[in-house]
């Protein structure tokens, strides 16, 4: 039975990804639900909740409004709060019941915006997709709606429509070019390889159609949420690495940057996608502003070197300034939309993947960008080989999972764990291997186990994985 989970948890849902991504940006974020979603998010997924007064609320959806399809109470309540608090924007998404009755959040956003005069984002969430899709759509919406064209700073988006439903499937075809495994020579993604002609990992650099540029590189970090990085200093460490290499941080989406800094993101020469959640926005910014992107997390000294080199390479090929300033054409914007199919509309949630019969020395389970970067680090600095990556997210961007097994079914994950000599994953996965604690290496993931193992989450950016689990691993290999 694919959908039964005897011992595993499930990942944070799309709504929580949206709230987490937008948490620090001064918006009014509303989950259209009766009660539980807000408590779940704020208890387990949001370490900033106690002291950082972000406006994330629940609507208090009730039965009669659901039956009658009555959105007016929701709109009234949002307008009431917005008029008092003057948020930078309003964002609203729904839980399973609004999804079941087909609540049109795009229309709802228009109504709220018309009434309040405040930019409003509507998300077609369903409480079923993962936080990757939710946070990804949130960052994408921010990119589409609020990032200012450096060439036309006064320009204001006029659509009021940040819904994700307008994307078509053509973009998915483009994205599939990743599978060719090498430089495509087109404005599509290339996989970066290094040494001995092998692919190091799924670390990517997409230079688009960029041309040679000059130094003083400005970058955005895109895809930072506590769901992937917790609050143990990983994001701060990334910023420090940039500073130490004389790179200028324009903005960090979205931990530690103001809304205004995010708005100015198009000043950057390169976008650094540090989790899957940043990927849709980076793709859009490439299409709209010709900003190339690099995908990966700098783990270990080798990871830092690689990351910086890729940023410099991407920046070096960036589009000439005058081209970029005029880049936000209708064609560019349109292309940005088309190349970003919604992650929230996929239906195939249960995947057993095409499992390899081979034994793996090490199986790593988690978020795709982290997986790929961790693999590169372990191969480069610890000489590990036969590392297999398992992505448990059915809605992860397909471009990022080409080098890994996509497996969401508990029994199938258990089988993969059995085949591996060691497993590096969130501690909850250890329950798939009762009686084999020696083969499990914990790497807590806040989006999966919430706050429960937060004090064990390592600062893996920069210096690499904390020595304790690694030492164990290396001693035995």
């Amino acid at each position: 039975m694919k959908q039964s989970q005897s011992v595993l948890s499930c990942y944070a849902a799309d709504l929580f990804g949206i709230a987490s991504a937008l948490y620090e940006l001064g918006g009014l974020v509303v989950m259209h639900d009766a009660s539980g979603c807000n408590s779940t998010y704020s208890t387990h997924d949001e370490p900033r909740w106690y002291d950082t007064p972000s406006m994330v609320y629940i609507s208090g959806l009730n039965e009669i409004d659901t039956v009658q399809g009555n959105d007016s109470r929701l709109i009234d309540h949002i307008a009431e709060a917005a008029e008092e608090t003057h948020p930078n924007f309003i964002a609203v998404g729904g839980s399973p019941l609004p999804n079941a009755i087909g609540t049109d959040f795009r229309a709802l956003a228009r109504l709220v915006e018309r009434r309040t005069g405040i930019p409003t984002l509507g998300f077609r969430t369903d409480g079923i997709h993962s936080y990757l899709a939710g946070a990804g759509e949130a960052f994408l919406a921010i990119a589409r709606r609020f990032v200012k064209d450096p060439a036309a700073r006064s320009e204001v988006s006029d659509t009021g429509d940040s819904s994700v439903q307008s994307f078509n499937e053509k973009g998915m075809d483009d994205a599939a070019l990743l599978d060719d495994g090498g430089m495509t020579g087109r404005s599509t993604m290339t996989i970066w390889g290094e040494g001995k002609g092998r692919l190091m990992s799924a670390d990517f650099v997409d230079t688009g159609t960029c041309k040679e540029g000059k130094r003083h590189i400005k970058v955005n970090l895109i895809g930072a949420t506590p769901l992937d990085f917790s609050v143990v200093g990983n994001v701060v460490e990334m910023k420090k690495i940039l500073r130490e290499h004389a790179l200028e941080l324009v903005s960090c989406w979205a931990m530690g940057s103001s809304f205004e800094e995010i708005e100015a993101s198009a000043r950057a020469d390169v976008n650094c996608v540090i989790s899957s959640t940043g990927f849709p926005a980076a793709k859009y910014l490439k299409e709209a502003y010709r900003i190339p992107y690099v995908i990966g997390i700098p783990i270990g000294a080798s990871g830092i070197r690689r990351w910086i080199r890729q940023i410099e390479m991407a920046a070096g090929e960036r589009v000439e300034e005058k081209n970029r300033e005029s880049a936000r054409t209708k064609a560019g914007k349109s292309a940005g939309e088309k190349s970003n199919p919604s992650l929230l509309t996929g239906l195939d949630a249960w995947k057993a993947g095409e499992l390899s019969p081979d034994q793996a020395e090490l199986l790593i389970i988690g978020e795709p960008v982290c997986l790929a970067s961790m693999k590169a680090y372990l191969e480069a600095e610890h000489g590990l080989s036969k590392i297999r990556l398992l992505c448990p997210f059915p809605d992860a961007p397909k471009e990022l999972t080409a080098q890994m097994n996509l497996v969401t079914v508990e029994d199938a994950i258990r089988e993969e764990c059995k085949k591996a000599r060691y497993v590096l994953a969130d501690p909850i996965y250890a329950r798939l291997m009762p009686g084999e604690p020696e083969k499990f290496l914990p790497l807590p993931h806040e989006a999966f186990s919430g706050r429960f193992y937060r004090d064990q989450i390592p600062r893996f950016v920069g210096g690499g994985l904390s020595p304790t689990p690694l030492e164990r691993l290396l001693q035995t290999l």
Partner: protein, 467 residues
């Protein structure tokens, strides 16, 4: 190691709001809902139990949630945080495919059966939880349980519901408590046995209520103190059930209707006269020996007098999660001369109207403050600092005022003694009657004298719950 720069990022500024709409005075407040309903905020005070925790009261019961991921993520991690909780918890994930295909019944039957077969030990009881989406789409729940009972005749199935959107008849908490009784079956009545339920904490055995029954030869079976599944089954043999709060009423009525066990209300009260009336009523009904209420009252008044001499006019705030009868407690404290500053509650129970009217008359400047109102997220939590010292009774009151002097009281339950520590496995018991007031006085004195690590304590989920 937590990074301060990440957990408390600088760019986030709270919008400046005033207190209009989320604060009023008792003199001006309307009964029973003093505040306008709007967007809701969830304060990070987590001690109250949720639907993921209450089934843990039934020994050897395994919980299986059949819901969408947004619901599952919360309940599974809530169970995870309870010592031993995760071993009693599994889930079946509803996805969009099921909604489109309309195979909700089959997926639940298959999923639950699959989990039961894989469990290392066969559970005596399984409480399955379905969510709003299945009921909104009219899943045939009777069919599901019929099939499951046919396949697993040795297991008692309980139909649990996590349906916060669909609460026409019962609140989620009241419904949750009621369903816990569903596997109690009729047994031959055992004379002089009484059930207490359904509370999340056991009643303090030292309370005069327990004394009254036991002194008269009664066996007291407390739902919150069950040790084995047999203990749970034995609840089918009691003559009557006492319930203490309105949310326990549907459970008691269910047992009355199904098993013929009389439901008797013995409300939590902080009012000396009401406590006496309760005891007189119970003594007459069950032929019990009435305790010396005058002496007990005098003992309480002396204890409160001594307490007042020590804490003087230190402001006190209290919340409705600490005790269901929050206005009754406010009335007691005001009546004894304490400086009660504010009561946090989004609504008051119907049975509190007399206390409400008394406070309106005798403490018209006492503040009534909302808990869930959206502005409560934004108002500064500096009241304790400004007051110098402030005692909070309840986790939410402590959070909103920023005090470190607080009584960790949740639904009338508190740790034994004056414990305010961070122990993850405390043993709270219920404060009830006169001796409940005596214990409260001790707890308030301890709170006045000692500071607590409030953030560490109140963020723990389901205080006192065990798997």
């Amino acid at each position: 190691m937590i990074c301060e720069e990440e957990i408390r990022p600088r760019p986030v500024k709270a919008a400046a709001v005033d207190r209009s709409g989320c604060e009023t005075t008792m003199g001006e407040a309307q009964f029973s809902t003093p505040f306008h309903e709007g967007l809701k905020y969830g304060a990070p005070a987590r001690g109250s139990w949720t639907i993921a925790h209450s089934p843990m009261l039934i020994p050897e019961c395994h919980e299986i949630y059949v819901c969408c991921p947004c619901c599952l993520h919360g309940v599974v991690l809530s169970a995870e945080e309870i010592p031993g909780g995760f071993d009693r918890f599994s889930m079946v994930t509803v996805s969009n495919e099921n909604l489109i295909k309309g195979d909700l019944e089959q997926m639940m039957i298959d999923g639950v059966a699959d989990i039961i077969r894989k469990l290392p030990k066969r559970p005596r009881c399984v409480e399955c939880f379905t969510s709003c989406i299945q009921h909104f789409l009219h899943m045939d729940i009777k069919l599901v349980y019929r099939r499951l009972r046919e396949e697993f005749p040795d297991i008692d199935f309980i139909d649990g519901y996590m349906i916060p959107t669909l609460q026409r008849k019962f609140s989620p908490d009241a419904l949750g408590r009621r369903q816990l009784t569903r596997a109690i079956l009729k047994l031959p009545p055992v004379p002089r046995s009484i059930g207490l339920g359904i509370n999340y904490y056991p009643l303090d055995r030292r309370s005069e209520l327990v004394e009254m029954f036991e002194a008269s030869g009664w066996t007291v079976r407390d739902f919150a103190a069950l040790k084995t599944y047999e203990d749970y089954r034995q609840l089918g043999s009691v003559e009557a059930n006492l319930y203490f709060l309105p949310n326990g009423k549907p459970a008691a009525q269910e047992l009355e209707k199904r098993l013929g066990q009389e439901a008797v209300y013995a409300p939590y009260s902080w009012n000396f006269e009401e406590i006496r009336e309760n005891y007189v009523r119970l003594a007459q009904k069950f032929r019990l020996i009435l305790p010396d209420c005058d002496a007990l009252r005098e003992e309480c008044e002396n204890a409160l007098l001594l307490l007042k001499e020590e804490i003087g006019q230190t402001p006190i705030v209290l919340d409705a999660a600490a005790t269901p009868r929050v206005l009754s407690l406010a009335r007691l404290l005001v009546g004894q001369g304490f400086s009660v500053r504010a009561v946090y509650a989004d609504a008051f129970l119907p049975e509190e109207e007399a206390d409400f009217n008394w406070l309106k008359l005798h403490a018209p400047t006492l503040k009534a403050r909302a808990i869930e109102h959206y502005k409560m997220r934004l108002l500064p939590r500096t009241e304790a600092k400004e007051a110098g010292k402030l005692i909070a009774i309840g986790q939410k009151a402590a959070y909103f005022t920023g005090t470190s002097h607080f009584v960790n009281l949740i639904e009338n339950g508190a740790e034994e003694g004056a414990g305010q520590g961070r122990d993850r496995s405390p043993h709270p018991t219920i404060l009830y009657g006169y001796r409940g007031i005596l214990r409260l006085a001790d707890l308030m004195r301890a709170a006045y004298r000692q500071e607590s690590d409030v953030p560490a304590i109140i963020q723990q989920k389901a205080w006192g719950c065990r798997g």
